[in-house]
Assembly symmetry: C2
Homo-oligomer: 505 residues x 2
């Protein structure tokens, strides 16, 4: 490599790491805001966050970055790793400089306002109050996408690409159609099964401190260490990493249902284990960052669903749960397993079971794409939503709060985000199938889960997924990790097999 | 005011507020590091802090600030408030630009290293290991002071001024001599009193959650609201304010002695009540900032000692403490009061009683000034320390860990900081005496404390001290608040009176 390319590269790496120091401080501010900050502290926190965001944004747009990136365009001898880093810096730079400052500001104002109004309008079912604000958000998102779009690129793809690099509507549409078509017969068979449980059998009184201890034990068994991590409480569970050895997850507790916090912790710990597995030496640069939200979600879903709802895992968990929660004295692994695998079409995405979950996402994807290419207007969303729910899940929302107004994503401007949930769920099944084949087959895997031996699976994920950071695009990463094209087949096979066992379908 | 002066002033206020947004983020990072951060997270936190510090430092040195400050030198029609703000910005700018970057770096490296070595060397009594590092710190502090000194200004005064604006050795020396001379007969009389208690009478088993609840109740009674504050646990208690409505104090618990955490909370809550009382509209500018560490300490000492060790307060606290801590069932207000007013010369400053505390500080002040003007060398510190202890307190350290090596301040480069502890203690007594006179005299004050009516005192402090921010220099502030010159007289009178009551001296 010529000396000037080498020094441009060096500069970009150091600039990236320095930006990460500020950005990770922002992550800590956000964590604190959601877990610790006293109610009256939020106004000033907003000002702190805005100041730091402005700083990070101005670093991302720094013309000195642009110059170095241009300079490296002609450098033919970059290593594949450096090539990947430069590619992602260029995407990031492009996004940072192509949207005019006025539009960025208008978007921040519109989404903050819509989010705030949504908080109050949702419980009041006040769709007419939210509608004009959502119209403004959609208008601005179209403008933003138009600034960023390459010639001929669909606007929705521009938004999608922010969360899932390289993903397109053209690829997702047939994939999600096939997924929806495959889920339907599985769901129908379960609904028709005489073995189906119709109520929650594990209702009880579960003291919060005992739940907390159980959840901590679970984290440690999975490989999440409290030497470099924390588990706290927040209204909406999340995970974050304000540093390469500073991994924080949160949960919320329901005193009558310990499974809510436990499976929430499994999910967030899955996210965290991905972050922990990223190569620390590259922290703050693309090779030390997660590649996409879809891949991120694949890790959380893998631990929550593929592992957490298996019979083996339930065998391991049962005595542990009984130790911490005496009112579970009558619990058996089989009962726990059936309980965490109940299936029933429901209105709220975040409470959906493993079979119906992706149908919720597909509904949103179809509506989002229609909104962005002009086939649908915001004012027609409620009707389109209800009709879509009926077509996909066979049920109709009783009110907007349980329908079109249930998610914060659209008011917050996160259009193009939902598909990553379904992609992640599919990738989880595909990765787990490959890991199972590599690690001795299903029987061996189940025995390992029953014994609480999670480390072979974690090692497999670290070697196949985590260690690559942003080296490969999501689809390529899944292809390389599993030896197969990304496909909904693995998820459908998994669900059919699991519910054959659970429900005799 | 001419338009250009007005606009320069406006610019400086906005710049100051924006800097405060970043600086207060640093405060949050520091709070998190001391209360929440997992052990493995500290390395990266160091990098985040360094990045943000660098940013704040470069804002403080911004030549655009210097230009505006110069421009305002000729502006004759500033309001007294703006005048005070400009004065303190100028001090800050001067400190930021006059020390060469190389020296700043060398100091950061030397003090970090000395602090780290001190952590291990102190428990090992390894003075020879610490000595060369301390020599380097002292050498660099002299260099720093030389860069900042006005012509003829003693080097020590430059360091002192950072913590206590306007304070000088020439003023402190006679003041501290008078204080030491006045304390000695009080101490001697107590030591000779037959009423003196020689052991801790309140040893017991105090569960931490019950202590926490009691401490929270205490905070709320004082006027510290959890709507805008938190109380957490850390190895070394501290208070901070990462936002104008975000006040955080910490404590540590000893299961056999609830008074340790309770009086620690009283002390830190005192600091916090000062911060809460600063005018919020001016937050992030000099008029919304504390004026000095001495005044800060006056607020903590006032609540801890003047209020907290009064008989009235003990009357109020006793039933509350008994409610939370059943093993105190035999406690009487009188027993509690005697217990928190025990006096005994001891080796460790942080554990010293109200009478001997300032003698510990005076020893350090004398050694520091001698170090800085070359009368004393670091290698001779241990001997000078032990001799000073003997002269002031009549006891000799059994080992360096309990003598010259006990404090972190010198390894951390905080030379000139100690005097603020004694100044604060003096100011606390002077302020309390003035408040007592204004609020109906001693009897009325004691009755108010016994009834848990703390708000008249707090209101008095807010109106006389808190609301002024940096408007007046410390001595002027005390003069205005109390109508008297700052003097050790009030502390000596208070101690004589209190220990007449407690010990019959």
């Amino acid at each position: 490599m010529p000396a000037d390319s080498a020094s441009a590269l060096q500069w970009l790496y150091e600039h990236s790491r320095e930006t990460a120091r500020f950005y990770s401080a922002l992550e800590l501010l956000a964590w604190d805001q959601r877990t610790m900050l006293a109610p009256a502290g939020h106004d000033w926190r907003g000002e702190q966050v805005a100041a730091l965001m402005g700083l990070v944004q101005s670093r991302l747009q720094d013309p000195a970055r642009g110059e170095r990136l241009t300079q490296l365009e002609t450098a033919a001898d970059l290593s594949p790793e450096d090539e990947a880093a430069v590619f992602h810096w260029r995407r990031e730079y492009h996004r940072a400089v192509r949207v005019p400052l006025d539009l960025v500001r208008a978007k921040v104002i519109a989404t903050s306002k819509a989010e705030m109004v949504w908080q109050e309008a949702r419980p009041a079912n006040a769709w007419p109050v939210l509608q004009p604000l959502l119209e403004e958000v959609v208008r601005l998102k179209k403008e933003e996408a138009a600034c960023l779009a390459d010639s001929g690129q669909p606007l929705y793809d521009v938004l999608l690409d922010e969360f899932e690099p390289g993903e397109t509507t053209a690829r997702l549409e047939p994939l999600f159609d096939a997924l929806a078509a495959g889920l339907r017969p599985i769901l129908d068979a379960i609904l028709g099964s005489p073995r189906r449980m119709s109520e929650r059998p594990l209702q009880g009184a579960y003291p919060v401190p005992a739940q907390q201890q159980l959840n901590r034990n679970l984290c440690e068994a999975l490989g999440f260490s409290f030497e470099s991590g924390r588990l706290d409480v927040s209204a909406h569970p999340f995970s974050c990493a304000p540093g390469p050895r500073d991994h924080r997850i949160t949960t919320r507790h329901c005193e009558s249902n310990f499974l809510e916090s436990l499976y929430g912790v499994l999910h967030e710990a899955g996210h965290s284990l991905y972050m922990i597995g990223l190569p620390e030496a590259h922290w703050g640069t693309p090779l030390g960052s997660y590649i996409s939200l879809g891949v991120h979600e694949s890790q959380s879903r893998l631990w929550e669903n593929m592992v957490g709802r298996s019979l083996g895992f339930c065998r391991w968990l049962t005595p542990l749960a009984k130790d911490s929660l005496p009112c579970l004295s009558g619990l058996t692994p089989d009962k726990l397993w059936r309980s965490v695998n109940m299936v029933s079409p429901s209105l709220i995405r975040t409470e959906a079971d493993e079979v119906t979950y992706c149908l919720h996402v597909i509904l949103r994807f179809r509506l989002e794409t229609a909104l962005m290419d002009g086939r649908l207007e915001v004012k027609d969303l409620p009707e389109a939503w209800d009709a879509g729910m009926e077509a996909l899940l066979g049920i109709r929302p009783d009110c907007p709060a349980n329908g079109v107004m249930q998610d914060m994503h659209w008011p917050a401007g996160a259009i193009g985000y939902f598909p990553t949930y379904a992609l992640g769920t599919m990738y989880a099944a595909q990765l787990y199938a490959a890991a199972t084949a590599d690690l001795g087959g299903e029987h061996a895997m189940d025995a390992r889960m029953a014994a609480g031996e999670f480390s072979p699976l974690l090692t497999w994920l670290r070697e196949r997924v985590h260690c690559h950071g942003m080296r490969y695009m999501p689809q390529e990463l899944i292809r390389q990790a599993t030896g197969q094209e990304p496909s909904p087949r693995f998820l459908l096979e998994h669900l059919a097999r699991r519910h054959q066992d659970v429900h005799g379908i």
